[in-house]
């Protein structure tokens, strides 16, 4: 006899994925039984009809997936802003949403003052840099070594300051994003797919491409550069990072500035799809379920989480929303995130936190 045969059989159920798959299979089986039992009743509408629709009207399915993809990429971009700050300072940056508004308003506001579009972008980046330095000096530095919750509350303070400051400088009026001046494309590409029309907005394509490039660049930057390594060191332990000579202040400025850049890109893209107003702040908070799903500390988690939430909520709203009166998108995202949390409490790619007591 070899040792291998003596080893106890591995407990497959301990693996979260296997457990998830088994439960999913059980749900599907139960659904099929239920659908068989009540014919054209509720179970049919929930479990069968949406899929019939998907097959019968494939163009709408493609369109829904596309919409989900674009929103997902944008969610991923917003989530990335949160992840970077969470890694560096250990706080959920509540102010990320208002930073989106602030960056977009600064850009549009500068352009209204007669600054050429691209110069306005550069100046806005400058403003975001000044903002990052100010936040580091005025808020973060005095709070070094305080509990995380204090820093978290401080981001609320930043939010309310930026709301008030933004409103007093730019006013509350909604503004048009200067999409044309920034050479962002307009109009749509209509494709004939499977006997139907799928229309891809050029601005959405641009948003998806730019956001993807941005995400890739940031991921690479924080993976392979000296600053990236320093960031990861800071994320592991502030004290250990300080002891090997990493400047915490410098890292914070860089991270908040990066969050500012992300905010500006998000603001431009989302602003062009809608308009630039303080309502954009709420959109950024849609990144919260993405973070719950992907894990607060993981860049790939933000990307995959963003896509799952984006596509999941669009599919859910489109195919299952009408069954309960529609408008389910806003909570469905949290629902999806919670579903994943049942199996992976630390999020898809989050670090398992092991604390010794």
């Amino acid at each position: 006899m070899t040792d291998a045969t003596l080893r106890p059989a591995p407990n497959l159920l301990a693996n979260g994925w296997v457990k998830a798959a088994l439960i999913l299979a059980a749900i599907v089986a139960a659904a099929m039984v239920a659908a068989k039992l009540d014919g054209s009743g509720t179970a049919y509408k929930v479990f069968i009809d949406p899929f019939v629709q998907m097959v019968e009207l494939p163009d709408l399915l493609v369109q829904t997936l596309w919409e989900g993809l674009v929103t997902g990429v944008l969610y991923a971009l917003i989530a990335l802003g949160f992840v970077l700050i969470f890694k560096a300072s250990g706080v959920f940056n509540f102010a990320q949403g208002i930073m989106v508004v602030f960056a977009a308003l600064t850009l549009v506001g500068l352009h209204e003052k007669g600054v050429p579009a691209f110069l306005a972008v550069i100046l806005t980046l400058g403003v975001m840099f000044v903002l990052a330095v100010t936040i580091e000096r005025m808020v973060l530095r005095p709070l070094v070594n305080q509990p995380d919750i204090i820093l978290f509350m401080a981001t609320f303070g930043i939010t309310y300051f930026l709301i008030g400051f933004g409103e007093s400088v730019f006013g509350g009026n909604p503004k048009q994003m200067i999409a044309e001046q920034l050479y962002l494309p307009k109009g749509a590409i209509d494709l004939n797919i499977l006997g139907g029309r799928v229309s891809l907005q050029k601005i959405d394509i641009a948003a998806a491409v730019i956001a993807s490039i941005m995400i890739a660049a940031l991921a690479l930057f924080f993976q392979y550069t000296r600053i990236g390594r320093a960031l990861r060191a800071v994320a592991d332990s502030h004290k250990a990072a300080l002891s090997v000579g990493i400047s915490l202040n410098q890292i914070w400025v860089i991270v908040w500035f990066t969050a500012g850049i992300v905010a500006l890109i998000t603001g431009i893209m989302w602003g062009a799809r809608s308009d630039v107003s303080f309502a954009l702040e709420i959109v950024a908070l849609k990144a919260l379920p993405v973070l719950i799903l992907g894990g607060f500390t993981s860049i790939p988690g933000a990307i995959v989480g963003g896509l799952i939430i984006g596509i999941g909520e669009k599919l859910g709203e489109f195919y299952w929303g009408p069954l309960i009166g529609g408008g389910i998108e806003s909570w469905l995202a949290y629902f999806i995130a919670l579903g994943f949390l049942l199996f992976r409490p630390q999020g898809l790619f989050g670090d398992k936190i092991i604390e010794r007591i």
């Binding site: 829904t64 409103e167 509350g172 809608s274 954009l280 489109f318 806003s330």
Partner: protein
Amino acid sequence: MKKTTIMKGAALGALLAGSALVSPAMAQDSIYVANNAYRTGPFSGSGTPIGDGMRDYFTMLNERDGGIGGVKINFEECETGYDTKKSIECYEQAKSKNTVIYSPWSTGATLAAIPRAHIDKIPILSMAYGLSASADGGQFPWVFIPPLTYWDGASIMVRHMANELGGMDKLKGKKLGLIHLDAPYGKEPIPVLEALAKKYGFEVKLYPVAAADMQNQGSLWLSIRRDRPDYLYNQGWGAMNPTAVKEAIKNGFPIAKLVGVWWAGGDDDARAGGPEAKGYKSLNFNAAGSNFPVIQDILKHVVDKGKSLAPKEKVGENLYNRGVYNSMLVAEAIANAQKISGKKVVTGEDVRRGLETLNITEARLKELGMAGFANAVKIACADHSGHNKAYVAEWDGTKWTQKGDWMDPLKDEVRPLIEAAAKDYAEKNAGWPKRAEACEKSS
């Protein structure tokens, strides 16, 4: 040392005496008008132009006529951010300052204020917003909802649809979609649309938009593409409206079949869609533009003197003029109250009577410099809305223009629903007071 103490004491005494003398005098020569506004927050896009219009009209009355009936109007804004919780603070503040009227400026805020106002005896003016059922003056003596309710609006939408299709009988089998904010405001027209759908045989499809997804309507418009409604009625507000206009264009929905309620008719809402938004429609009960004596007076007495918060080019925009219209109703109610009560400085109770007998004729509108700006408004003891006319406005690419004639709501169908809903409200709220206020003889 001692001398200075005495001096200080004397100064303080003088100050106290001074303020004691001043405050009753102040209270006597001005009328306090509280008004909610939201120049901040996600809905500020709609709230700011309205707030400017309301403020400028009263500033103009004070500057040009020295107030109303020789009494200055002390107009004060309370910032709510379109948040119902904050609106209650604003209500309490307005009450403590003895406001003669309260304009909640959100349906949620109106619903919160209605029970309070019936105890505190403060008249509420919810101009074409708020609880449609409050048009029943028998149950709601302190709430006024001129010139028409959301239910009237929805019925005018149905009439508009029938006009374009060629008659009420052509409505059969048609599909009307209602895009609405998933909030008390957005849900208001649902009961009346469903009742009318049943009667005329068309179908109503609901497309709710959660406040968090106002700018994220992608999947909703996919549903619209799937369901292919013949018409869309948009009961939207704030950032939801420009997004809806953009999405309609993006999804190839015929923009001329998208009709907004009067609150979805902001210039910024339509402008967001660019040149392709031409043809977007909205119900309306005031005219847009600055070509009216009243707006010219505002320009002359307020804007040109630097007393307005509005940029000059925004004066005369649709929602700005809507604000002017709201203030005109308040001012006329106060003037009417002065006439009925014989007092110069009127109270909330007087203004309630003033509102209940409000009758703004075409001739009066002309005197106010508003000929062609609005239609006549008449409120009565039992009918606190008047169910007045509205028209369909069309965006021509740069401004709002009047598309069709002024239309009456389907009053015969809406009114019984309103009375039933009002009765229902009173029954559901145990201890709802029976109306104790007598009707005026003239009404």
